[in-house]
């Protein structure tokens, strides 16, 4: 079952502060994703892999084309959706683990992770319990759970990010360098988590520079090639 279909997706940036220069990054791209499969984006640095991922998430506005997402049983075009719809899709259907954790001041790690569950109506205690479980699986010890992640190391922050991304059980996950700052042991945990998610039917798009991890999780590759810069 196709859960995500980017059709003729184009994305370019017009930099008004640099005299209006236009930089095209993606051109008429076609990507389909099925439930339970993991597609890894490949291509050189700067080719547009992260741009593609952000566009799929609605974080970047598509210049052209459609981004069809299976949301509540229907295929919905995210590129044409209004903000409230996009937020609903992100809440229920489309999850995103970015490369860097955006740190909210003062909020404890366990609350950062459990937020999505609480928002959906799960009781705070139950949600925290599940979040704590996931954090521990990612080797973030109990004593750190109550601390805001601002003071965590890069690797620890990434693991908090991962926990937050996986806890919601989203049917589609976008993972941007999920293991970049992690040691081997934690990389293994992540690979396991991805496999479990796939087994549940979760569809995944991943950017992964580490070839070993990529081989462990991806069912196929999707090549993103850099475009020639238009004048």
């Amino acid at each position: 079952m196709i859960v995500l279909h980017a059709k003729n997706l184009s994305k370019g940036f017009t930099l008004h502060l640099q005299g209006g220069v236009h930089i095209p990054v993606l051109s008429e791209l076609d990507l389909q994703l099925r439930a339970g499969e993991c597609v890894a984006l490949s291509g050189p640095s700067g080719a547009g892999k992260t741009t593609l991922m952000r566009s799929l998430y609605g974080n970047y506005r598509a210049s052209g084309g459609r981004i069809l997402v299976r949301h509540r049983g229907e295929m919905l075009d995210l590129a044409a959706a209004d903000p409230r719809t996009i937020l609903a899709v992100r809440d229920e259907t489309l999850g995103y683990v970015s490369q860097f954790l955006r740190v909210v001041p003062r909020v404890a790690a366990v609350d950062v992770v459990s937020e999505v569950l609480v928002r959906r109506g799960t009781g705070v205690e139950e949600a925290r319990h599940r979040a704590a479980g996931l954090l521990q699986r990612l080797n973030i010890p109990q004593r750190l759970h109550g601390l805001p992640p601002a003071t965590f190391s890069g690797g620890e922050q990434q693991r908090v990010n991962l926990a937050r991304g996986f806890i919601g059980g989203h049917p589609i996950l976008l993972l941007d360098e999920p293991t970049a700052s992690l040691d081997a042991a934690n990389q293994t945990v992540v690979v396991e988590m991805v496999r479990e998610a796939k087994a549940r039917g979760t569809a995944i798009v991943a950017i992964c520079h580490d070839v070993e991890v990529r081989n462990a999780i991806a069912d196929r590759l999707f090549e993103v090639s850099p475009l020639q810069e238009a004048a």
């Binding site: 017009t14 974080n59 909210v104 001041p105």
Partner: protein, 258 residues
Amino acid sequence: MSQGTLLSARRVSLAFGTIHALREVELDLWPGEVLAIVGESGSGKTTLLNLVSGRLRPDAGAVWYRDPDGALHDVHAMPDPALRRLHRSDWGFVDQNPRENLRMGVTAGGNVGERLMAQGARHYGSIREAAIDWLEQVEIDPDRIDDFPRTFSGGMLQRLQIARTLVTHPRLVFMDEPTGGLDVSVQARLLDLIRTLVARLDIAVMLVTHDVAVARLLAHRIVVMQGGRVVETGLTDQVLDDPQHAYTQLLVSSVLHA
């Protein structure tokens, strides 16, 4: 005005003499959403907030409010008593300067309880309990319930103002630079508080700020204003990460990153 929007401004314009403070501004606010209006000084954002909340009249255009029964009201055609009642119950306004909203000669408890009493609350014990509860929610020591606000710090005053405003569970709260003038650490605490309360109580917020970081933290959607016009509007992270308009790009690129 589409089904379900809480507040809508349609082609609203306002000039002060030759100064066009607002030009054909349109915006919508949905229940439970936080909308940030950002722009530099003189962009018209505070004027817009004051106009939409009924404090100023437009030269052209209209502002519509949908009440809990679903009926539409033209905010500026409402009779004065009705608008005042609205401000005391369904709506709230958090001023940039809390001293303007609070009664400095009345205790913290009296300040928080006032809106309840204005609505007819007549049980002293319940009013006091509600005041204590709200002081706790805004992280003010409830032992200070009988203290006067003039003994409070800036951050505490702002939190007291928020308690005083939210005590009647308004559906819509207008906020004008709620963290303006506060120390950075105090700001962080206040923003976190606002974020939590707004989400928990499902309040719609229209928030004016010149600080893009505040918008990013609190808002679902963002409206960017320049020279009295709306130049860009949309999902907060989209507008801030992929700004389309030249001015938005300028605004975003000017933000200092910690």
